[in-house]
Amino acid sequence: MSSEVAALGLANQWGPILFGLIYGIIIGYKVKSEEINKAMYPVILIVSILIAAALGTYPDYQWTLFGHIIRFSEAFFSTVLGIFISMIIRRQ
């Protein structure tokens, strides 16, 4: 399905990004960050980028940039971002 969607140019990934952020903010709101080693945060971000790249277009959403398909799981990465955003909001 992925290649067909890309060929049709219909792929749109804003939905997973939006709802991934919402889910991440909902769950991240209850994360207590005081007892967590701060060095973990950049590691989590980098590893989540790697995992999202490894997941590829799952679940079948693609970001097309200058005619090239970016094989990246936006839902996964936006959830991790949402958790971090929620933690930042909570600390302020």
Binding site: A11, G24, K30, I36, V47, F76, F77, T79
Partner: protein, 265 residues
């Protein structure tokens, strides 16, 4: 016993909701024989592919929409049962004391890896939830994967020191919101089809904007509220999102109550 105004208001709302729900259910049951048209299933099988984007969602949310609704409420019943059996100790204030041995049993590697793994499990669960209408995933498996992240942190760090510090009220609210999203989306379909076609059809896929009210068309979207997806599945992703919230909250509540349960002495 004198009840406060707040409690009276809640009782009135509960009573009105019960009357509305009873009316809808009785009306549906009363006219049930009218809906059963011979040969309808043959016609429906021909056209079902146009209602949902693929055969998985046709089966899950259309043929077996009531079944999915029932599963959602089975989970709530399971949570209530677990609460009654194991949770009354925590409600009474008999919280099990976490001895240092309990949480110190986990090794340094476990403590170091549990939180990042939980974050990745949560993110992967959300990915499964959001792809439920076009892949073999959905609200149930996705919510279960998210709850697994919570289990992991609770087992490794203990209930009091876990970084994912959910509370009872928070999880109950999440579970209720998830169930209500599913229930009310189905009621919208029921009302829509009753009003326009005269056939009450619960969980009818009305699309997200049947009246074309919010037609924006920005960014190439056909509709602002439409889940931006090449298959345009209408309300199905939102049903998955509701089920996912319900399942993650329900399973996390069960885990929390089991951890809080007072050991029978």
């Amino acid at each position: 016993m004198k009840t406060s105004n707040y409690q009276q208001g809640r009782n009135i709302i509960a009573g009105v909701s019960l009357v509305i729900a009873s009316f809808v259910i009785l009306r549906t049951l009363y006219q049930f024989s009218d809906y059963l048209v011979p040969g309808m299933s043959y016609l429906y099988n021909l056209y079902s592919g146009n209602i949902a984007p693929n055969v998985i969602t046709v089966i899950l949310f259309d043929f077996r929409g009531y079944d999915t609704l029932g599963e959602t409420f089975i989970l709530i019943t399971a949570v209530i049962t677990t609460t009654v059996v194991f949770g009354w100790g925590s409600l009474k204030g008999y919280k099990k004391k976490e001895t240092p041995e309990m949480t110190d049993q986990s090794t340094v590697i476990q403590r170091l890896m549990a939180f990042p793994l939980a974050i990745f499990l949560v993110a992967f669960g959300v990915t499964i939830v959001l792809g439920g209408h076009i892949s073999p995933g959905g609200g149930f498996p996705g919510g279960a994967v998210i709850a697994t992240g919570y289990f992991l942190t609770v087992v490794i760090y203990g209930l009091k020191k876990t970084p994912l510090r959910f509370t009872h009220r928070y999880l109950v609210n999440l579970s209720t919101i998830g169930a209500l999203i599913f229930l009310l989306t189905g009621v919208v379909g029921l009302v829509f089809t009753t009003y326009y076609y005269g056939t009450g059809y619960y969980l009818y896929n009305t699309g997200v904007d049947p009246y074309d009210i919010i037609h924006v068309g920005a960014f190439g979207w056909d509709n602002f509220l439409d889940y931006p997806d090449p298959t345009h599945p209408g309300v199905l992703p939102y049903l998955n999102i509701g089920v996912g919230l319900n399942v993650l909250a329900g399973l996390s509540l069960i885990a929390m109550f089991l951890m809080e349960a007072k050991r029978d002495e």
